[in-house]
Symmetry: C2
Subunit: 368 residues, 2 copies
DNA sequence: ATGAAAGCGCTAACAG
DNA sequence: CTGTTAGCGCTTTCAT
């Protein structure tokens, strides 16, 4: 099919919408009076207000937000950059973000920066719209552009990803501790041979999870995990799982850097290798997406507090707007390991919390 | 936690971004020259262009799109209204839409209108931004507001939902034919007792699927299906499934109005009732979301051509912009039934197409 | 090809 | 409280 462009077509002139001026004339008042009626907290007499409102409804007037943002300098639009909506965790994050923002009377403008690509080109676009703030969900940003955002006073917060740059705020789950907890959990379940399925090495999240996991295994004096690459896609994750299960010495525990890859791993382990996941092979994920709880997977996974992440992100944006840059830097929200059936259980440490089973590493544990 | 509002905080004045005027002075040209350099297809001499570009990069100039849309009347922003990103089919639709639009240099502004609520209040918001077009994904719109959109020349297209109003365009899958096909498939698989799990009765999609299904059963002289309500949520779908399976006469085939509900049904059938789905009980969905293919579900479902829907929607928008209102009205794209393991197989009619098994009703079939 | 000038629709002083 | 007056940053005639 030939690539159509919207711009190839001569366009019909759109009927011009009603302006404040027209309403003013119709109501027999000044144009500023109209403006004031639609500006919360401006002083207008009841009589004027009534006349204006009548005229406005009669004509079907709606204030032009574009025009007002031009003069006020704020658009009430927040940019949200996301790798895609394919991963349910991202979708849920965007959904929550959008809901929270719309509650505060902000609109979200959605941008996609696929995994592995930088958000930089998109940022060039973004900076042309005068957005009020920017949320990067699992996206990378060069420090050059981060600086540039700071320069034009565009508050930026990264969610589920962090950066070295001091100047960019971020909110992430406790990837390191979470991964260490998973390591401890698997160790306690007396597994012997470990594997780690990475997302992308360019992702701080994947790196942190790897580091926390390896560190904990190292502390236990166990051989470092085999590392395979799931690339944050189900296809690559499936391939990686095949490689792992075809190997001479099959691992008995796989920690996958996110739920999506973990579920892909479960799928191939079960259906292609007939492996009894949860007994012969333990698979653990990260995120606790909705599907992880489904009977079809019953995935043991580290739960990230989605709402808390969203709240924190917005709080950071608020601080940034008020000039308290003090808040810049990483914000870490903690989660917990929810235990289901995809991994062998340790003898103790299991706890029922709010209808779910969670596991916490014993307070002090000698390493022998 | 106390409800924070972004607006509670006194705000730091943002450093004003560089304007075309400043670039002009710096480059020693007029401001209009600067504008022309950044306007595709304007005539500027190479010398001037060079000077302007140099100045612009030196100062870090970025044209203010807000300002330019004020004057041109087009924002290059398309509104997308969606019930939420929780349903993977919606998420995929938004993702594809966003990708297609960004290719054409449009931005998407995301709005959420939860299921069961009308998009009307949101539309009031939308009309204040001067969006170039509006895509309603699985959302309802009152004909009053539809008319209002037409009046201000805002092209609107509904995706995966339709309306009676002649003036609103829509693109949907062939819900009726698809559902009829599922009915025929189930009949051919010699099922006896049928159930239909509806989404919301306010949804044209659910109604059409119900109608097509019932119609086909009626043609076969079979009793009409039991109807239960899944309300497009996994919780309600789970409840509905329980009701169905606890009933005295259990159906042996359930057609669910979408995949999400079908998977919820499979979950409870298997895990709570120990039912062998695909043998003792057949469950069929609609949409063919990514997860339907997963070994954990292997859901038989009617596949909707996502990309084609998106392409059609954009094509309709293009037509609308060019004033060819002739194209208004429903556009229906056809799909096909992909057969996996969640429903008993009919003796014939199965076909391999591109690595997947599909089923098509025999051309002419006598009804006895 | 280029500059000057006139707005796009609105808000924000500023007088009255 | 209200009208008048400037612009916000840009595009677009219109002359030159």
């Amino acid at each position: 099919m030939k690539q159509l462009s919207i711009d190839d077509i001569p366009e019909k002139k759109r009927p011009r919408p009603v302006t404040a001026h027209e309403v003013a004339r119709f109501a027999g008042v000044s144009q500023s009076a109209v403006s004031r009626v639609f500006t919360p907290g401006a002083s207008v007499s009841d009589r004027t207000r009534a006349k204006v409102v009548a005229a406005a409804t009669a004509l079907g007037y709606r204030p032009n937000l574009i025009a007002s943002s031009l003069i006020t300098g704020k658009s009430r639009i927040v940019g949200v950059v996301v790798p895609g909506l394919n991963n349910p965790f991202y979708a849920a994050l965007v959904d929550a973000l959008s809901a929270a923002l719309s509650l505060r009377d902000y609109r979200v403008m959605l941008f996609t920066a696929r995994h592995g690509t930088s958000a930089d080109p998109i940022l060039e676009e973004i900076l042309r719209y005068r957005l009020d703030a920017l949320v990067l969900v699992s996206a990378q940003l060069s420090s050059r552009l981060a600086d540039e955002c700071a320069e034009v006073g565009l508050p930026v917060v990264m969610v589920n990803r962090k950066t070295d740059s001091e100047s960019v705020s971020s909110v992430t789950g406790d990837n390191r501790a979470g991964a260490a907890c998973i390591g401890a959990f698997l160790l306690a379940g007396s597994h012997h041979s470990f594997a780690f399925m990475a997302g992308l090495d360019s992702s701080s999240t994947s790196r942190d999870r790897e580091a926390g996991f390896c560190e904990r295994l190292y502390q236990a004096g166990v051989a470092p995990p085999l590392k395979v690459h799931g690339s944050y896609t189900v296809e690559a994750a499936a391939r990686a799982t095949r490689a792992l299960l075809k190997a001479d010495t099959r691992p008995d525990a796989i920690f996958c850097a996110n739920d999506q890859m973990a579920m892909a791993a479960i799928d191939v382990a079960r259906s292609e290798f007939g492996v009894d996941v949860g007994r012969a092979l333990s698979i653990v994920g990260f995120d606790d997406t909705q599907l992880a709880a489904s009977p079809a997977y019953r995935l043991t996974t580290f739960s990230q507090p989605l709402d808390e992440m969203v709240d924190s992100a917005l709080a950071i944006l608020i601080d940034a707007r008020s000039g308290r840059d003090s808040s810049a830097g990483p914000r870490i929200v903690s989660g917990h390991l929810v235990v289901r059936d995809s991994a062998r259980l340790p003898p103790n440490g299991l706890k029922q919390v709010g209808g779910r089973t969670v596991w916490m590493p014993p307070a002090k544990q000698s390493i022998n």
